[in-house]
Amino acid sequence: MGASMVDDSFEGPERVERVADRMAAEALIVDVDGFEGPLDLLLTLGRTQKVDLRQISVLQLAQQYLAFVEKAKQLRIELAADYLVMAAWLAFLKSRLLLPPDPAEEGPSGEELAAHLAFQLERLQAMREAAAQLMGRDRLGRDFFARGIPEDITRVRKVIYTATLLDLMQGYARLRTRDEFRPYAMDRDALFTMEQALDRMRGLIGFAGTWTDISSYLPDAFTRDPARRRSATASTFAASLELVKEGRVEIRQAEHFAPVELRRKE
C-alpha cells in the first residue's frame, strides 16, 4: 500500500490548511485528555478526511496534527511529551514528503515512513474493531451460564513413597562404614578460639605493667599438648593484635623468632 497512499498529497508545496481542519482541531483540543496517545489522536484526525484508512493522506494528516499542536500552544494547553515527540517527527516527515528525494541521503524515504504510519493507524483501527467484536460476543455470565451448583470434588490424596537403588546402596554404605568413617568436622576440644583468648587477655591485661612474653598468657590446660598449645598461641597472638588496635596494649619483638612481648599502654 506504501507509496500510493501519499500520492494525493503531492499536489503542491503550498499549505493546505483549510478552515475546516482548524475548526476540527479546535474541537479536539477541548478533549486533549480523552486521547489515548498520539496515535489515537491521529486516528481521530484521520477520520475527518472521510476516506478509507488505506487512502488516507499522510501529508494532510501531518498538517492536521501540527495544526492541532499549534492550536494547543496558543491556548496554553500543556501537551504530554509523546504528543510533542510525534509532532516533531511529523514535521520531519512532512519535509521529507514535500522535498524532492535526495539520492545521497541515507535512511528510509518519506514514502516509506508515511506508509508505516498509515499501517500503524490501520492496525490500531483494526484492533479497536476486533475488540468491539470481541466484547459484543455472547459472554459467560451474561448470555450463557455455567453450572450454578458446582458439586464438590472430594480429593483423595495418595502418597507413594519411592527410593532409588542408589539411595539404597548409599544408605547401606553409610551404615557399614559408620564406625571408621565420619564426616570431616573440626575438633573443638583442641581449639582455643580468638574470642576465648580475647576474653582472657582483657581480664589479665590490667596487670601487665611491664613487658611480658605473651606465652605466659596461655591457659594452663593449653600448654602441654602441642596441638592445643599451637592453637592457644595463635589465638592469643591474634587477640593481642586486636588489643593493640584498640590502643590498650603495646607489642614488640626484638628479632625473628624472639619472644613476642606486650605491656599495658599507659
Binding site: 489515548e36 498520539p38 509523546d82 535512511g107 475488540a131 466484547m135 459472554r139 455455567a146
Partner: protein, 202 residues
Amino acid sequence: MAEQERMCEAILFATAEPITIREMEARMPHGCDAAEAVQHLRRRYEGRGVQLVKVGDAWAMRTAPDLGYLMQKETVETRKLSRAAIETLAIIAYHQPVTRAEIEEIRGVSVSRGTVDQLLEMEWIRFGRRKMTPGRPVTFVVTQDFLDHFGLESARDLPGLKELRAAGLLENRAPPGDLPTGSEAEDEDEPDPKGQDELFKD
C-alpha cells in the same frame, strides 16, 4: 458407551470449570474412552437448553446463548473494563504471544501496569514464554478462562482473525527509521521493538 456417556455427563455437569478429556478419564474407570463419549454427548445436547462446548483443550456445559434473557438474576456484575484494558486484551488475543513493548507499539501509548494487572487478576491473560530477543521479555497470552468467557473454542476462532491476517494487520512490522512509539519514554527496561518482526511470522 451409554454408560461412559452417563459418566462424562455427570462429570461435566458437576464441574463449573472446563475439564479436559484426560482429566475425565483420570476419574473414570480404567479403559474408558471419554473423547468418544463426549462426542456422543455433544450430539445429544444439540439444540437443547444446555450445550456441551469446547473451550481450548477442555469441555464444559453451558446454557444456550439464546436463553440468556432467562438468567438475568444470575448475572454477576463484572468489573467494567476500561477502554485501554479492552484494547490491550484484544491485542493480546490477536497477536499472542505478545510483549508489553509490542502492545505499546500497536496502541502508540505505554501500557499501565494496572491494566495488565487487572487482566491477569481476571485470569483472562497469563504470562507466556519469554521472547528470544535481547532482554528476553515476557510475553502475554490469553487463557482458557478467556476462551470460556467469550465462548471461543480456541484463539483461532477469534472474530475476523483470518481477514486481519490476510490484510497483514497482525504483522509486527518494524518501523523504518525511528518512529515514535510512545513507549520509548517510560519503558527503558524493555528491549527496542525494532527488529523483532522476524519472530512473529506464523
